[in-house]
């Protein structure tokens, strides 16, 4: 089964501390079309709670998140 998610933009936010990850993600999502997906890799452990909270408030959707060692990769769909 091919479960690879197609993304139009990839952000490497590792090393950035709060609030830079959500500031950058909120900027990036505005630059893509509705329905398109961006991915963001973050090392900020607060992002685990922050990204979903940001998505709920801004009305975007996190379709998947996966751990990559210390980091987390989020797949966010612009709604």
């Amino acid at each position: 089964m091919n479960d690879k998610i197609e993304t139009v933009k990839s952000l490497d936010l590792t090393g950035f501390a709060c609030p830079i990850p959500i500031v950058k993600v909120s900027k990036a999502i505005k630059e893509v079309n509705q329905g398109e997906v961006i991915e963001a890799l973050t090392s900020d452990s607060g992002a685990l709670a922050d990204f979903p909270a940001w998505a709920r408030t801004s009305g975007n959707e996190i379709i998947k998140s996966e751990k990559e060692g210390e980091n987390t990769r989020f797949f966010i769909k612009r709604s």
Partner: protein, 187 residues
């Protein structure tokens, strides 16, 4: 009641409803955050700018009002202002010249603690207060400076940093913004 009277009374009710709606719309909170920055402490100012920039990311409009000890955070690093009276000179000399000179509210230990915290922040990739102010400007966070406090401490407008959206106001402007915001903070 004949038909015409009925229509007239309905129209009256409609207009009353419309008025209520307009009033409601005027008083309902916008997706906005209004903040008062009273403190000039480095840690509190950092918290304020993290919340402000985070709020923009969350889709909110943000307005910050700087008053009292918060005002020196927005001073230019360089330059001297002339024509100040004795008290103005005193405040000018004793208060920090800009965000990079602000000190921690706790554990400053004669500047050692603040220096240590700054080193630690760099190491952990936490943005400095100067960087956060730049970011806020980029994100179109509005800044107002309290005219009365500025006057009291003898600061001139020309002594304040070049920030993209900066204004000078009194308490009424803050209250207007606070009244139409859905969140308000005093830091």
């Amino acid at each position: 009641m004949n038909t015409e009277e009925k229509i007239l009374s309905l129209e009256k009710e409609m207009n009353a409803l419309k008025d209520t709606f307009v009033r409601f719309e005027k008083n309902s909170a916008e997706n906005k955050l209004a903040m008062v920055i009273f403190s000039g402490d480095l840690d509190k100012a950092l918290a304020a700018f993290i919340i402000a920039t985070g709020a923009v990311a969350m889709g909110m409009e943000v307005v910050m009002f700087f008053t009292f000890w918060g005002i020196p955070l927005l001073r230019k690093k360089e330059g001297k202002s002339k024509n100040k009276d004795f008290f103005g000179k005193m405040f000018g000399a004793m208060l920090p010249k800009g965000a990079s000179k602000a000190k921690l509210s706790k554990m400053d230990m004669g500047g050692m603690g603040t220096q240590m915290m700054k080193t630690l922040m760099k190491k952990k990739n936490v943005a400095s207060l100067d960087e956060m102010i730049d970011l806020a400007g980029e994100l179109e966070v509005k800044i107002y400076i309290c005219e009365m406090s500025m006057d009291l401490m003898g600061f001139n407008r020309s002594e304040m940093i070049d920030y993209p959206d900066i204004g000078f106001s009194g308490v009424a402007k803050f209250l207007e913004e606070a009244g139409t915001s859905k969140a308000q903070m005093f830091i």
